[in-house]
Amino acid sequence: MARPPFMDPNFLVIELIFSAIVILLALLIYFRTKEMYALTKHRGINYFRNAFLFFGLAYFFRFVFHLFRISRFLFDINISRQIIAPASLVLTSYLSTMAIFFLVLSTLWKKTKDKPLLQVAQGIAIIIAVLVAVFRTPEILTIAQLILLVFAVIMSYFSYKKSKKHSRLFIIYILLFIIWIFNISVLGPIWFLPFGLRMLSPLISIILFAIIYFRVSKWTK
């Protein structure tokens, strides 16, 4: 099959490097906060760490999905594409939805102490993963996570109105959320986007993860 112009192997190499940097930063955040969690068993720290572990894994499986999806164009081979690509997409869906929920829970858990929010989050993440498995398309994930984004913004707006406290962290988290959705959507119908624009989202991901990593490392010397 002829290779479409947007499936340049150079793009794949750059995508691999960018994904590796994001995964590394996410895992560094997770491991640098290990001692702090071991000492305190603080629920907020636990959610925060899990968010970055799940983000790291989601970026990993997103890359695996992308790799297998375009493998037939790049390498003229068809290595278990029928199994590995959908499986990676389902894993990406579950892990990324949970990562988003863990990040939201890390800041909201004190206000919702007695509510079983983690179980609800797991239920929603499983439903989204099942829908993605049935329809085998990243668009479902994009739409589901866009809905979650709208909910997160509305909830945060009301929380802000109540407390009147300005949070720069909230802006970083929302950006992280938006960029993740963009990262997923480029696997779908808008993957014909110009090279420069496609590279923008992994670059912004690296910047956001690096900001969070440096803020974490300030407290985990």
Partner: protein, 91 residues
Amino acid sequence: MTKKRERLEVIYDILRIIQSQHNSIKPTPLLRYSNLSSQSFFDYLNELLKKEFVKEITNKKGRKYITLTDKGFKYLEKYKLILGFIDEFEL
């Protein structure tokens, strides 16, 4: 009205009291200095023993003393950083 102490702060206070008493204090004065009800003091003490932040030593006369472990000292050393981290990320 004074704000109720957070769990991490109570743990810090208990460990600080033990440290300030040359790392050896009997449970009864520790209870008095910690400014907690008897029930919650023993809940915290059991938690600290379980997590190995403190240990119980019995001397030759059969008296029990509480002392800090390495993990307890580590907690005291890292406490300010832990609070800073929790505050920075609004956890």
